[in-house]
Symmetry: C2
Subunit: 198 residues, 2 copies
C-alpha cells in the first residue's frame, strides 16, 4: 500500500537525497513544506533554482558567487598579496567568520586523494599557480588536517617554494578549550612538534 | 563583509528555516544544491512547488493527499468500520509501516492543548464525529502518549462512548527491547496498570 500520494512521495524522495537527510528527516521536511503557506514554499523552490542557475565560480579565487568576482576578491580592503588556500567554500566561510583574516582565498574544490582517484589536475591547482605569477607575498595553506589535506599541502608547498614565495601551513594542535586527556595521540604529538617559545 | 553573494545567502536562509536544520546544515545543503547538476536542482524545486500546490486533505480522513481521497480511504481492502485517530500524518505513516493495521484513519492535525490555546475546535474533531454517524464498530485512539495526547484521548472517548461505539486506546508500556532499568517511572507504572493476563 502506497502511504502517500505520488507527489508527496516524490518530494520525500528528493529531500532524502540531500546530504545528512535520512528517510525520516525527509518525511518531516516534506510535511513541513506541505504545511507552509503557499508563497513560502514557492520562495524556497525559487531560491533553489535561482541560486543554482546563477551560481558560478569567482574568476580569481573560485569561491562560489553569482558575479564575476566574489565579494572578497572584489573588495578593496583585502590584501591581494596574501592568499589562503582552502579545500572548499565552507572552509573559506569558517575562516571568514573569524573576521580577522584580511587576505584573499583560493578554493581548490577538493584535495589530492590517490584513493579516490583525485589527482592534482582534478583540483584548482593550475589556477593557483597562475595567480602566483602576480605579486604575492605569502601563500597560507589551510587544507584540512586529514591525510588528503596534508598531502595536498605538501604538494602545493613543493610547487610554490621554488618561485621564492613564502609558504606557510596553519598550525595543528590542541583546539582551544580542549582537554588534553580527550585528545588523540597524533594531535598531541603534532602540538608538541609545533610548540612555540613563550 | 558578506560571505556569499546575495542569492547564495538567500538559499542558506531558506534552508535554515526548515525544522531541524541549523545554520551550518543549511550551508551544507546549499552548497550541495549548488554543486548538483542543474536538472537535479530544478527537480528538487519542482517537487516542492508541485507537491505544495496540489496537496490537499483527504475528504474522509484528512490525511494529506493530492486526490479527493487518500490511497488508504480509496482502497477496497481496508475496513472502514474501524477508525484509528492519530494526531498527524507522520503518526499515520508510523502505523502504516507496520503493515498490519487494516482499518482506516482519522488525522486530527494536532492535539488539544490549553497551554498553546488549541481547543477542540482547532483540530479535526467535528469531522470525526460526522464520520461516526456512518456504521463504525470501533474507534482506536492513537494520539501521542504526552499530556496533550492523553487529554485529547480522554476528550474523544467522552464524546464517542455515548454513541455506543467501542472506544479503545493503544497501550502504554515498556517498548519492545527496552531495559526496565532505563525506563522512567511513569512508564513503569503505566505498564503495571496495563498488565494483561498470560
Amino acid at each position: 500500500m502506497e502511504l502517500y500520494s505520488e507527489k508527496i512521495n516524490r518530494l520525500i524522495e528528493e529531500f532524502s537525497r540531500l546530504p545528512g537527510i535520512g528517510r525520516k528527516s525527509a518525511q518531516r521536511l516534506a510535511f513541513h513544506v506541505l504545511n507552509m503557506p503557499q508563497e513560502q514554499a514557492e520562495g524556497l523552490a525559487y531560491a533553489i533554482t535561482d541560486a543554482r542557475r546563477s551560481v558560478c565560480y569567482c574568476k580569481e579565487c573560485f569561491n562560489l558567487t553569482d558575479r564575476e568576482l566574489c565579494p572578497i576578491c572584489a573588495s578593496d580592503s583585502r590584501n591581494k598579496r596574501i592568499i589562503m588556500v582552502v579545500e572548499n567554500p565552507r572552509d573559506l566561510a569558517a575562516y571568514e567568520k573569524t573576521g580577522k583574516y584580511t587576505g584573499v582565498y583560493h578554493v581548490l574544490h577538493g584535495a589530492i586523494s590517490p584513493m579516490l582517484g583525485i589527482g592534482p589536475n582534478e583540483i584548482r591547482l593550475k589556477e593557483l599557480l597562475l595567480r602566483l605569477q602576480q605579486d604575492v607575498d605569502e601563500v597560507i595553506i589551510a587544507t584540512n588536517s586529514s591525510l588528503e589535506g596534508e598531502a595536498t599541502a605538501m604538494y602545493i608547498s613543493k610547487l610554490v617554494k621554488p618561485a621564492g614565495i613564502k609558504v606557510s601551513r596553519i598550525a595543528s594542535g590542541i583546539p582551544v578549550g580542549g582537554d588534553l586527556e580527550n585528545i588523540d595521540e597524533v594531535t598531541l604529538l603534532k602540538a608538541l612538534d609545533g610548540r612555540t617559545p613563550l
